[in-house]
């Protein structure tokens, strides 16, 4: 069994009126099956309202399934006794960097999760130092989070999760509120954690550029998983992606348009370099 596995997962947001009668049911996740292998970098893509954030909250047991089951490292998220173990195994980073930093000094915030787990004091210090180093934020350890940029705050949040020694990190649109530089920093950090620390990463996003380095991409639309595969496989189906309101990276689109006009360019071009090589090989 993989690190994260969802089987026939269904989740419904139920709205009730004042008397408690059901007013409307909104099926946010509709019969989803996914399987994430340990050590992988998996991206979930989807437009607004596709259910991708709801999906993320299931992995951390913030939400529990209406139907079906989610397993995190073999633990059923419905099992309340395992709740804290699940949350420690699958750490979660949220969208808004301001709303997830608890302390007023960077290092104290990074230590918060470890404190909650009851880790002995000396070990908290080593963990804090290690995870700040891994996130490239060690020099800011005594700073106030209010004075950091968005990208730096998000890296502090990631370090805070790393200090809990999770096997898997779920990032729910961590770059949505950042500027391009911050986005690059955060992505770089995530990639390094995946490569060096061997943490399983589940990145939820609607930026296509962020998923080209993933091992596997899952596309969601209206609560369903509609596409699965490697970035190259996914990006070779430009028309299908557009149907789900997802814009492919510019290079991919250019390559796609060129091949449509009859040039011999392979499908699923991901980087400028690849396109340049492809064009050179024609000429």
């Amino acid at each position: 069994m993989g690190m994260i596995k969802a089987h026939n997962l269904v989740f419904e947001y139920i709205r009730r009126d004042e008397e408690g009668n059901v007013e409307s049911i909104n099926r946010a996740i509709d019969n989803v099956n996914i399987d994430v292998t340990k050590g992988d970098f998996v991206a979930i893509l989807g437009a607004n309202g596709s259910g991708k954030s709801t999906m993320a909250k299931h992995i951390n047991a913030i939400l529990t399934p209406t139907e079906g089951t989610v397993w995190v490292n073999g633990m059923d998220t419905k099992n309340e006794e395992k709740l804290w173990e699940i949350r420690q195994t699958a750490g979660m980073v949220f969208q808004n960097p301001d709303n997830q930093i608890i302390a007023t000094v960077v290092e104290e915030d990074v230590g918060f999760g470890a404190e909650n787990l009851g880790v002995p004091t000396e070990e908290i210090w080593t963990r804090v130092e290690e995870s700040l180093k891994a996130a490239g934020m060690l020099e800011y350890r005594h700073h106030s989070p209010n004075k950091l940029s968005g990208g730096q705050k998000q890296r502090v949040a990631i370090a805070g999760i790393m200090a809990m020694k999770p096997e898997c990190i779920v990032l729910d649109e961590p770059t949505a509120m950042l500027d391009p530089i911050g986005r690059k920093e955060v992505l770089q950090t995530i990639k390094e954690l995946n490569k060096k620390e061997k943490v399983t990463v589940l990145l939820i996003t609607h930026y296509m550029e962020e998923v080209i380095h993933a091992d596997k991409v899952i596309v969601m639309d209206q609560g369903k998983v509609v596409m699965q595969g490697t970035p190259r496989e996914i990006f070779s189906k430009v028309d299908e992606l557009k149907q789900y309101c997802l814009a492919v990276p510019q290079v991919t689109e250019l390559a796609y348009e060129l091949s449509k006009k009859g040039f011999a360019i392979p499908k699923g071009i991901l980087t400028v370099k690849e396109l340049v090589e492809a064009i050179n090989s024609i000429a």
Binding site: R87, F112, N116, G118, V119, S144, N146
Partner: protein, 267 residues
């Protein structure tokens, strides 16, 4: 304007006062505040002034920064001063129509003004030199015994530390909303009291909405990091008394002794 409020902020610097155990600082602040209400002659206030200003010197927090915090309480101060000045009965000094100023009135006003100003200065010096987390850690430990009578000590201190952390964020947000409303023609500055109060509604409603949203996000983020109350929690920076803390207690004891001497021998 809103950024001028410095009460409750932390001023990072490297001083003995910053490094002191928060419990000492809390006890010191409480003793200092009580002492302000114990003096019944002006000599006492000279002592309080000397004590406070030497502490400010030691703390390395710039005087300008501390005084700025007073701006916020000017309305309150004026309110207290006016009421005391005009409404205290006693020997008449000055009369203009129905306005009467008495000797006792002047005296209580001066005392009241000094007390309020020093109360704010003293307590803000504590927040300037103590990080909110440290402060609430100190509170949690000091209030520890109350847990026996089912006071949720840990929860209270956690709430306080979060409130303190969000003060600057919410202030920034207020500023932002205010500017956005002003850009669309809202007027916060003119008109009478009622009109001005009413003009605050379009400011407060979005502020509250966003505060609730933030609270919701934060609660989720805390739970995701395995927060489940104070039980079984360890501390990254546990509180431990050191020699300097003992010395600080000694200074406090000397201060208290000086107050009693002043009160009983110089009357």
């Amino acid at each position: 304007m809103i950024r001028d409020i410095t009460i409750g902020q932390y001023y990072p610097a490297d001083s003995i006062l910053h490094r002191l155990d928060p419990r000492v600082k809390l006890a010191g602040t409480i003793i200092y505040i009580i002492s302000l209400f114990m003096f019944h002659n002006y000599y006492g206030y000279i002592l309080a002034v000397i004590f406070l200003f030497s502490m400010i010197q030691i703390s390395k927090v710039p005087m300008k920064f501390i005084v700025k915090g007073l701006k916020a309480i000017i309305p309150l101060l004026l309110f207290a001063v006016i009421f005391n000045l005009f409404l205290t009965p006693g020997t008449l000094v000055f009369q203009l129509g129905f306005i009467k100023i008495t000797e006792e009135g002047i005296k209580t006003t001066v005392f009241m003004g000094i007390r309020l100003v020093f109360l704010i200065l003293g307590s803000s010096l504590m927040t300037f030199t103590t990080t909110p987390n440290h402060l609430t850690d100190g509170l949690e430990r000091l209030m520890g015994p109350l847990r026996k009578i089912k006071v949720p000590v840990h929860e209270i201190s956690m709430m306080m530390s979060i409130a303190l952390r969000f003060i600057p964020i919410l202030m920034e947000e207020t500023d932002k909303i205010m500017k956005a409303q002003m850009a669309r023609g809202a007027d916060f500055e003119s008109g009478g009291l009622i009109k001005r109060a009413r003009s605050l509604i379009p400011l407060l409603v979005p502020l509250f909405v966003s505060a609730f949203r933030r609270a919701n996000d934060l609660a989720m983020a805390m739970e995701a990091r395995c927060y489940r109350g104070g039980e079984g929690r360890t501390k990254m920076k546990p509180l431990k008394y050191r020699t300097r803390d003992m010395l600080a207690y000694l200074v406090l004891i000397i201060y208290v002794a000086a107050i009693f001497l002043l009160n009983s021998y110089i009357a």
